[in-house]
Symmetry: C2
Amino acid sequence: MPPLDYKQAGVDYAKIDPLKVLAQRAAAGTAGNLARHGLAEVPASRGESAYVVDCGEFYLASITECLGTKALVADSMRAITGKTYYDLIAQDTLAMAINDLITVGATPVSVHAYWAASGSDWFDDAARACDLVAGWQAACDACGVSWGGGETPALAGVVADGRVDLAASCVGLIRPKSRLTLGEKLSAGDAIVLIESSGIHANGISLARKLAERLPDGYATRLEDGSLYGEALLAPTLLYANLTEALAAAGIVPHYAANVTGHGWRKLMRHPGAFTYRLHTLPPVPPVLRFIQRQAGLSDAEAYGTFNMGAGFALYLAAQDAAPTIEVARAQGLLAWHAGRVEQGVRQVAIEPLAATFGSEQLTVRL
Amino acid sequence: MPPLDYKQAGVDYAKIDPLKVLAQRAAAGTAGNLARHGLAEVPASRGESAYVVDCGEFYLASITECLGTKALVADSMRAITGKTYYDLIAQDTLAMAINDLITVGATPVSVHAYWAASGSDWFDDAARACDLVAGWQAACDACGVSWGGGETPALAGVVADGRVDLAASCVGLIRPKSRLTLGEKLSAGDAIVLIESSGIHANGISLARKLAERLPDGYATRLEDGSLYGEALLAPTLLYANLTEALAAAGIVPHYAANVTGHGWRKLMRHPGAFTYRLHTLPPVPPVLRFIQRQAGLSDAEAYGTFNMGAGFALYLAAQDAAPTIEVARAQGLLAWHAGRVEQGVRQVAIEPLAATFGSEQLTVRL
């Protein structure tokens, strides 16, 4: 069978990008409104994972993110095992927002839930409702954020029948202001520390779903370790907020941070600077991602350019901070690797063990 | 034909409420997490329109809201007139979030857009994309907020074919802290000032859509003033942020504020206290709402208990502040009426000119 790619999986960025460019330009044009209130945006936060406003004594950070289509995997798996998995995808949804917010150095403070369902009936499933609520609360507790409220609309005709659109917004504070991490200090010689992922997290799901359609047993296909493909996909995204808080408590301020989400390791060159990110060490690849790569017929470059391949979060630090950062991560129960270094040079990601390189043109997050 | 009610229109709150109660309890249970960061929630904000955190020198307010199903009206009207109307529903979406945020006394600072579409193709419609972006920017400019970013996912299988799920999150600051408006000062003798609406805004849309199905000409039905029913529905929600900012600048701090959204005038008793809200003056009813009431066969109580009926926002103020508030509103281009007073008594809304009363049991926004 021919290899799968993301366009086949139904997401064609060429069709979305013109609107994104329009929106980014228009959004940038509204920054001046803050002057009315004696505030100013931090321009370097445009194009980063969270938006940052300078409020004088502190910075305010905010983000809204969605789960994507991972709920469809949960729905399919429920038919197989009877479990709802909505506790797990609740954590995924919060992780999408919180793991983005912390990249700028913010302490996440509060979140809002956005659970838009196809109709009132969707909410009337007690097992699923309990799991969703319990998982959401547990993830808030794990990250030290307050769940401030949310929206549970019934949107027949907007949300597909029997489905739910899950999203989260998160607000945070950067206090003291010296914790701001927007990459100004990123320098040649910095260490790249990669933090483990738990599996696919919530990015690359469309391709993973497309693959399930190809497998004779679909989501019930067993991986080498005996787990079901669908269940392995549903391992919840790791939460990295305790790590970034612990680093701050240890006096370690990263020079930059990247949440490894859509576009996989191409996200490692999210920073706009002229740097080459040279990776010499690869984290172990989660079995479910190894399985997808093999079954979908993806080259290493395609796999690492799409999935996190075992690295869920990246920290860029002064070289001497790499070892203590790995210790802090371990104390938080997270494996971490001093996996590479930042070099002056063309903007690219060079993965030496795979002889693979992603050029600057393969990641556009700014105008 | 029998009168229409909201359950017939497809929204059955009895099915949604158990999950909402579960979620509200769980959310309240996460408040203690803020202590980790030296912060504390303002408990009175639970059940209010925006969540408020005490950050020491200031309060932080946040909210996430969605448009609901009004985009379906825009999509139908496009087939009739060729216009997209997405500039208008962009304003509606932002109004849902911003008009809620300002009720607690917050200055809106930044917003995030959430535009989840059924697939990449949705974004590839240049006219609609331009309108959506232009309307979003214009509404941000009108409210003095910065558009910080957003999410434009393509969610085939989650969002219904050809549709978009529009939502917005908004973050604000309450500075000085004396601007906090959570109702502690609400007292018998306070004046109720109602601010005009532009029409249906974005609440009660499911019923309005159901009505269109009954009309021989549907959305193309002409109102008495000659406008098309569908186009009248699409009059964008008024934005009240400049009014609340102007009041603050004038030294007027309301005792309480309510955004008149779902449940119409029942929202006038949003405050948990034992007060009777006695209305003696009714704003003129927008023609489109008068039309819906008549065509759907709604009693006055049903109409005022569902729609805003001309009052989009309510302010509760010390009696001597009513007249200057109406002046400030007029200077912002908004009609306002000293429409009633707060009395000690059973929690209810009494609309004297209609001899209609909503009892406490007809609005549940808290556990």
